[in-house]
């Protein structure tokens, strides 16, 4: 009994998690306006989506924002993780605490506080404000991911490399990077995911000059049946899976 019960339980929860996603994907190919009944296979909602230039623009904006926010937060986050791991410095505990607080803060508090800041400083609500906000909430998650990897890393390795005459640059490239590469990718992926998923922060800090998906589809989703939204969700999923495959490919190459 103890063998199959946990397995069955896991499967059940995964089933519940994936039913809505499956509905989304299946019904994106549904012909017929009702959205609740299957009316045959069709690509008409994809066509409608591709013809809706404002929506496509928002889709690209969202993806681009997620990619850039993930990249920037990985860069800053991994450097921070390295510093926290390697160096002793004053305020280390404060830094950890601060990151922890950011991670735990309710999104809505972050959202309104950033809105207040951007308004006060005069940063136009658009790409820049979104990027700053998204990097901020991704940062602690990247740091934690990279640190977890570094804690399993033998500190004597870089020393050994240096003793063997490697310069810092070579040491970083040949010893450090291969070790933390999976963590960097994991951190990047996490940042990408969080940014793409976000609704709360984006609602507050975006402007009409750079519209992203949550805002574009908010009223559509509230209205009800909009099969284009199904198609959109499916496209997002496909694109993200492609990103994942690409990161796996980079990882495989860096291992060689």
């Amino acid at each position: 009994m103890t063998r199959w019960l946990p397995q069955a339980y896991l499967s059940l929860v995964y089933l519940a998690l994936y039913i809505p996603i499956a509905v989304l994907v299946v019904f994106s190919f549904n012909d017929g306006r009702t959205g609740y009944r299957w009316g045959g296979f069709s690509l008409r909602w994809y066509e409608a989506l591709f013809n809706n230039s404002a929506m496509m623009q928002a889709l690209w904006n969202s993806l681009w924002l997620a990619v850039s926010a993930a990249t920037l937060s990985t860069l800053i986050g991994s450097l921070t993780a390295l510093a926290l791991h390697r160096y002793r410095f004053r305020g280390k505990r404060a830094l950890r605490g601060m990151l922890f607080v950011v991670m735990m803060s309710p999104e809505i508090v972050l959202a309104i506080s950033l809105l207040a800041l951007f308004l006060l400083v005069g940063i136009e609500l658009g790409y820049v404000s979104l990027l700053l906000a998204h990097v901020t909430f991704c940062l602690p998650f990247v740091v934690i991911t990279v640190m977890a990897r570094l804690s399993g890393f033998d500190d004597r390795l870089p020393e050994a490399a240096r003793d063997l005459g490697a310069t810092d640059f070579i040491m970083t490239r040949t010893v450090l990077l291969p070790v933390i590469m999976p963590a960097l990718l994991a951190g990047w992926l996490l940042g990408f995911t969080l940014s793409l998923d976000d609704v709360v922060v984006s609602t507050f800090v975006s402007g009409p000059g750079y519209e992203i998906l949550p805002l574009r589809i908010y009223s559509m989703v509230r209205v009800g049946l909009k099969p284009e939204v199904n198609a959109l969700g499916t496209l997002l999923l496909v694109f993200s899976l492609l990103m994942l495959l690409m990161s796996q490919w980079i990882l495989a190459r860096s291992k060689r």
Binding site: Q7, L17, P20, F89, S105, P106, L114, V199, L236
Partner: protein, 293 residues
Amino acid sequence: MMKHRRRMFRGLRQPFRTGVLVLVWGWLLALVLVPNLLVIAASFLTRDPGTFISLPVTLENYRSLMDPLYLEVFLHSLYMASVTTLVCLLIGYPFAWALSRVGKERQLLLIFLLIVPFWTNSLVRTYALKLLMATNGLINNGLMALGVIDEPMRMLYTEGAVIVGLVYLLLPFMILPLYSVFDDLRQELLLASHDLGAGRFSTFIHVVVPLTLPGILAGVMLVLLPAMGLFFVPDILGGSRNLLVGNVIKNQFLDARDWPFGAAAAILLTLAMALLLFTHRLSQRRLGEGGDL
């Protein structure tokens, strides 16, 4: 020669270290600390129809928060979030345990599968739930086709629908920290407890629960607080009612333009977070660990 060289590198590393620290501290101060101070300041100011906020300094916003009706919103929001958290915990706890028991390779895949749904954006996922729960939605259609029910059930636009939505969106945030504590939980401890004559239940209560407490608390924090802020879930699944503090905060900032009052409501959430953080710290200290961060 060698020693000299090492020292040289140490010299090189100094600016790197300083650079990184300046960057991250600068980022956190400018985009976390300063904005939060702004919100705190705003919560003590007066609403102004023209410029959003103005002098004089006042406690009025906090006083209106304590108004029985707003207090009710907060308490109700807390109730919705608590039910959500409890459901997440009840589903997530055994889930995380089961997850930590499968083979390493499959574990990675399974964790990855927890993350995939995020790529559709939470708004789109909430919409998918609406497709399922609508009066002529898939669940009702299915059950009626099977003859289980004759009349469609009215699920959408109820508090139950909102809780389903919140649980669906937040469950992974409960599972991940729980999984990480279960993953660290050493089997030997359980065996030892067994050997010392403890029964299954006793082992669970006296060994497993205390050891997984930090994970439980981290999960509770990652679910309870965001659950009060996800205003779009009641907007879509709850018939646009103010079921969460998040709705009130959003309305104050984006509709009614009473920023000081919205800020005060946000401070209330922050205080709740501080309280939870404090409990979390205490539990960690008792267990004598540092935690992840």
